[in-house]
Structure formats: C-alpha cells, structure tokens
Amino acid sequence: MQQSNGMQQEPTISYRKALRQALREVLYADDRAFLMGEDVGRYGGAFAVSKGLLDEFGPERIMDTPLSESGFVGAGIGAAMAGMRPIVEIMTINFSLLAMDQIVNNAATLRHMSGGQVGVPIVIRMGCGIGRQLAAQHSHSWEPLFAHIAGLTVLSVGTLEDARWMLPAAMRSDDPVVILEYTSLLNSEGILDGNVGSVDIRTACVRRHGSDVTLITYGTGVPKCLAAAERLAESGIDAEVLDLRVLRPLDEQSILASVLRTHRAVVVEDAWRTLGVGAEVSARIMEHAFRDLASPVLRVAGVEVPIPYPKHLEDAAVPQVEGIIEAVRKVMS
C-alpha cells in the first residue's frame, strides 16, 4: 500500500489487478490458503486475474484443475473440512451450475446437518455478469440463485475497493463464501484509497449520499447508478446510491435506514427481474417501511432472456443509465 503524499497523483489500479493483489495478500498471509480452478496457473487465468501467481507461489498453492466443476468444488469443500482455506475459482457463473449440488447440498448444508460439527470455510470466486458479448452460455447475472441459499454468504464486487478487500475478509469466515466478480468491470480503473485496508462483509455501503431517492443496487449496477445519480443531480434530484455488496445475508438495516430518509427507492440490477434481489428488497421495504414510502418502490432489472450475442441486443437486455433515470423520475413524480 502506498501513502498519498498530497503532491503526487496516486496511481490508478484496475479491478483485475485489485483482485490479484487480494489473492496475493491472502496467499502470503495464510499458508492454509491455496487457489484452484481451471487454468488459474499455467494459462494465467481465463480472465488473467491470477496471472503470474503460479510463478510466485508454485503449483501447490496455485493448482490447475481439469474440467470437473463438481469434482474440484467438492474437493475444495473437503479440503476446507480438513482445515485448509481453499479459494476455488469457477471460470464463469454459467459453469457453477455444474457444481451447484456441491455448493448447496454440501457446502451450505453440512454445518447445520452435522449439528454444528463440520464447518466449510471455502471461498468460491466466479466470473459473473453480462457485457462482453459472450452470449447465453457465458454471461449471466445469476446472483439470485446463490442469494436464495441458506448457509451461504454471497458477496458482489461492485467497486475497486471491494475487489481489493472482500477476499481477505471472506477468508476470515468459517463458512462458505461465494464471491461474484464482474468480467465487464475487470478493465475498469481508479484510485484505490490506501488507507482503507479492509472492508466489512456484513454491511451494505452508501456509495453516494443523497436525500431525494435511494438507488439500491450491487455489482455492475453500482457504476451505472453512480452515473445516473450524476445526471440526476444536474436536474436537481439528489439520489443516494446504496451498494448492497452482501447479497446474503442482506443488510436490511441499511436499506431501511436509507429509505426512511428518502421515502423513495428504485432497485437496479442486471439479473432477471422475476425473483431477483430487487424483489426481495422491495418486499422488505413493503414489510417494514410501507407507511414511509412516498411512492412505490420500482425495479430496473434485466430482461428475462438468455443473453444474446450481438452488442445491441446485449445492451438492451440489461439496465442502462437512461432507464434508471426514467424510473427515478417516475418515483419522484
């Protein structure tokens, strides 16, 4: 970490590099930690996140696996049960369906089913999201499938800061943590505040304060909502942007605190609308802040379609800044 000296411009860093720094940190910090997954080593990672780590840590710490998602996720679970701290990478969220049995029926279940005896401190990272024209079998926003599962902690990396600090925090959990990393954000750059040093993986985070309406979002929705908020500010609407960050267990308190101030909310997500995270957020506001709402909570969410390949259709399938602004105008009117 570099201290800002006030004079010199702080160097920018990419989301990808922040993820890599996080990996390096946890691999140095704990020799029970190791990374495994398809092509994380010799290839350098499908999205180059783990590039260089094989040279730095060697093949016992950076393990290439065959194409066997169920097998190596299950092996990660076993290693965790036996006292290691495995980080398992699933290349993209589509392939996670091949390991769903292991993640749900085992990782999320064993502690309770064994009466508290067996913990599974595994971290499962996966490339997630839409926006690189990878089409229907390589791009989806299936956060809701994981956010529904009791026993998991589900993190969504919407900012550089979280890219850098969520993994170390997740490694301190004694239970399974799923981290969703967005392939469309990998090349995004910014300045990382060297003073942060850690993040809290139990709470949502206000990324922009505002008083008129709350934009509740996560992942790729964060930059979109921030952009929308800037545009809205021009026309005098002061939007708060709340990044949920932790999709399970949801930080209900932060959601309600914000909405009780603004009395208006729009939930924004790339995931399919029906049974998305937005539905849950809306239902909780309904249950706990109904009388405080000036206007119904609206959702801006993904169109319910297998993501098509061409750019114009892909863009049309997920929320864009314009659509967010439109929804905000609706709840303001």
């Binding site: 097998g71 190596f72 299950g74 092996a75 990660g76 502690r111 064994s114 009466g115």
Partner: protein, 325 residues
C-alpha cells in the same frame, strides 16, 4: 490369501463382535422404524458387515472416513456408540448431530467420521479434498470413502477418481457393490459391469474382493495399506456383496427374487466367519454365545437411552447455520 495364522482369538472375537453389533443394531433399527420412533428414510447394512469390519480394522484413529446414507455399519465399526447413533435416529439432542441429521447423516468429528451423505456420490470429491489437505500437510493418515455400485454411474465418481489420481492423494475408495442401486440391478446401471475397470481408466489401481468373506477383505486391506498409506496413492477396492434387506423401508422389493436373496444369505458373512473361526479353534461356541449376549445388551441399552433422550429446543432451529450462531 490372508495369513490366517496371524489372527488370534481376541481379534477374532473383536471382529465377530463388530459384525454382530451391526447386524443386531440394524434389526433393532427396523423394529424402531415400524414403531414410529425412527422416521424418514432408513437404509440398513445387513449382509455387508464384513466390509465395514474388515476395512475399519486396518484404519488408524486419525484416518478419516466418509460414507453414504447406508452408513450405520461404518459408523458402528468406527466406534461411534450405538446409543449415540440410535439417539440420532430418534431425532434426539444427544444424537451425534443433535438429531438434525438422522439415519442418513451421521457425523462424528471426534472419530473422524464425516458423514453420512445422501446425495449419491457427492462425498467422493469431498474425500479427495480431505486427502488433498492431508497430502499438502504431509500427514501420514489416509481417507477412506465408502459408496455403492450405483454411485459409480454418477459423473462425480469419474471426476473424483481422476482428481485423486492426478493429485496422487491418499484416499481409499471402497465400492460396496451389493448388485443393486435401489431397484436397479448392476447391468442396468453399468454397460461395463466391471467397476474396477473404470478405476483403471482414471489411473487408479483397482482390485476386486469378495465382500462376504471377512478374511478376504482383511487381506485386501493389507495391500491397500501398502498402496494408500505407504506409497501415498489412491486406490479403488470393489467389494462384491449383497444387502439382505430392502433398499429402504419404502421398498416393496419387486425387482429381485426371493430365491436370489436366499442364495446370497447362504453366504452370510457372519456365518461364514463364525464357521471358519470356530472350525480352526479361534472361537468356541460359548464365546459366540457370550458375544451374542453382550451385543443384545448393547442394543437394548442403546434403544433405551435413545428413547429417554431430550429433543433439541425449537428455539435452536436456526443455530448452526453459520459458525457464529
């Protein structure tokens, strides 16, 4: 062949005790099921006792065991008290999983017994991962993983064997081939019925053993120890056996003939062993009778203790979902 002279009377007694305890425990489980004290799915191990007894006698206390939903025999042979298992099946708080698991999910970390998994074959990759941890830490213990012939048709089986071989981890896969996966006979599960050949196709040394013959299992375990514990390589042991009872308590057994069952019962592993051991003077009839009595008392006590247990308070329903709760 096993060096039969190496066995002494005490060992023979111990082994018979193991097997009989399992048999009588399962009888009692069936009875408690019909009384409604045990519910849900119940899968009994009767007929397969020689495998649990023969494999387990070769394992050390720090070795790790994983099994399926048909795991009472393994749990008992591993040394979990009958009363604790029975209590678990009664859903009591003094069961090994505080009653949360039931028959299909026996876990006992104290004896390194890691389930009791009821998604067929889904414990195989976990076994590989536990063995990987062992290898990474350069420990000398091994992992032993029991599963059935049906499980070998799941893709997870293939993936797990391949990973174990690629990573060269100390895991012993024990396939208990009891000829059926529920009502599906071996030839309907596998186009190639020789399961050992599948092991070899994934780079794993694989052998067959007669799972009705305790001595054969013990013998096979000597070799397995050499491969897995000493040479630190995975291995597959395919034990041919038969379950004497229905698949579970929901099974009308439409898929096999009474005659077939009778045929296999002629090779009852407990009878076979008892005959051999008495024949060569390791056991007397008195000794056998005494073991029967001891076992009967153990089981009665287990049922009594289980039925006197307390239920987990409803308020604790949401405990143990996360570590901090």
């Amino acid at each position: 062949m096993v060096d039969r002279f190496i066995m002494d009377a005490a060992t023979a007694k111990g082994l018979l005790h193991q097997m009989l305890r399992i048999r009588r425990f399962e009888d009692a489980s069936a009875e408690q099921y019909s009384r409604g004290n045990i519910r849900g799915f119940l899968h009994l191990y009767s007929g397969e006792e020689a495998i649990a007894a023969g494999v387990m006698q070769a394992l050390r206390h720090d070795d790790i065991i994983l099994s399926s939903y048909r795991e009472h025999g393994h749990a008992l042979a591993r040394g979990i008290a009958p009363s604790v298992i029975m209590a678990e099946m009664f859903g009591m708080a003094d069961g090994c999983c505080r009653g949360r698991g039931g028959s299909m999910h026996l876990f006992d970390v104290a004896t390194n017994f890691y389930g009791g998994t009821a998604i067929v074959a889904s414990h195989l990759p976990m076994a590989v991962g536990m063995a990987l941890a062992i290898r990474k830490r350069d420990e000398h213990r091994i992992v032993c993983c029991f599963f059935g012939d049906g499980a070998a048709a799941e893709g997870t089986f293939a993936e797990s064997l391949n990973l174990a071989a690629l990573w060269s981890v100390p895991v012993l896969f024990v396939c208990e081939n009891n000829q059926y996966a529920m009502g599906t006979a071996l030839q309907y599960s596998h186009a190639e019925k020789d399961i050992a050949q599948k092991g070899r196709a994934y780079g794993i040394e694989s052998v067959h053993v007669d799972g009705m013959d305790l001595l054969a299992v013990i013998d096979a375990m000597r070799h397995a120890e050499a491969v897995v514990r000493t040479a630190r390589k995975p291995m597959l042991l395919v034990c041919n056996t038969y379950r004497f009872r229905a698949h579970s308590m929901f099974d009308a057994e439409l898929y096999r003939s009474k005659d077939e069952v009778v045929q296999w019962k002629r090779r009852d592993p407990i009878d076979v062993f008892t005959t051999w051991a008495t024949g060569c003077g390791l056991l007397t009839e008195d000794a056998v009778a005494q073991i029967e009595t001891t076992v009967a008392n153990e089981i009665t006590e287990a049922v009594t203790m289980a039925s006197q247990g307390d239920l987990e308070p409803v308020e604790d329903l949401e405990r143990h979902i996360y570590a901090t709760e």
